[in-house]
Symmetry: C2
Subunit: 160 residues, 2 copies
């Protein structure tokens, strides 16, 4: 019971106390994103960045049921992106350096019907400067490469 109370506090208290940055492409920063669960991890060796992929409750339920073709309306997927750094005590490990950006895909088939049913939002750097790029159309252009998987690159990890 005590754990449940602490959990509710950690989930619901912080957003109310923090100032939100301006929206990106008309999408507000999801207030609870720091508390979402893990859907995946990736490392890009072209632009040398490490990523944690997280999801809101709708996303996690869909992913665990394998119900992601298409992802349901209400899904929000988040990508937390850091520049590569080397671990000071363990050189073969590449670990998060400076924050590059955080970005989100929001599923709403009606609202975002021109971009595959997804809204695209990004905030850059520690100051969370919002990106506004023609309603996310350039984002969607790249995501067309993942058209077979509802325009989502991330394949949710399965844990035993």
């Amino acid at each position: 019971m005590r754990t449940a109370v602490i959990l509710m506090l950690t989930i619901f208290l912080p957003p109310a106390l923090e100032a939100a940055p301006p929206p990106s492409n008309g999408i507000p920063l999801p207030a609870t994103y720091k508390h979402w669960q893990v859907l995946g991890v990736s490392h890009r060796d072209d632009n040398r960045s490490l990523r944690a992929i997280v999801g809101n409750t709708t996303a996690m339920i869909a992913a665990r049921k394998g119900d992601t073709d298409p992802w349901p309306d209400g899904t929000i997927l988040g990508k937390l992106v850091w520049k590569d750094s080397r671990h000071p005590f363990w050189q073969p490990a590449i670990v998060p350096g400076a924050l590059s950006h955080i970005e989100f895909m929001v599923k709403d088939r009606k609202r975002f019907k021109e971009t595959g049913g997804w809204g695209f939002a990004r905030w850059v750097g520690d100051k969370l400067e919002p990106l506004n790029n023609d309603g996310g159309k350039p984002c969607f252009e790249c995501h067309k490469a993942a058209a077979k998987t509802d325009f989502v690159f991330t394949r949710p990890v399965r844990l035993p």
Copy 2:
């Protein structure tokens, strides 16, 4: 309210329905680990593996307060480790392949006083075969490289 109820269900229901694997070094698999929040990410280019680092509620509260020197008793840190794979639609991205293992560090200064106050546990592969290696002493030997940071390699990420 509905979100809170769904959240409680996703946190508390699944463990009761799943069979637990045998303990590792006398430590049981943390029942709710799939639902923990993200503390970090890493990629090892020596053994080609990708990692998500997650923490229980005690760990997350300590990390967000910067209260990790030392980490408090009750902390559990989890590392979810996959073999490298290349994304089929986006070659520069290294993504999780087969599950390598999941491993945990459990802080209890009394119980684990011979290994820096930490218990070490690991379950290997999709079958979650438990590792039993002399109470985790070989794990501790390597973790001595991180003695300056309470034997923990992971530096929790800070999100704005």
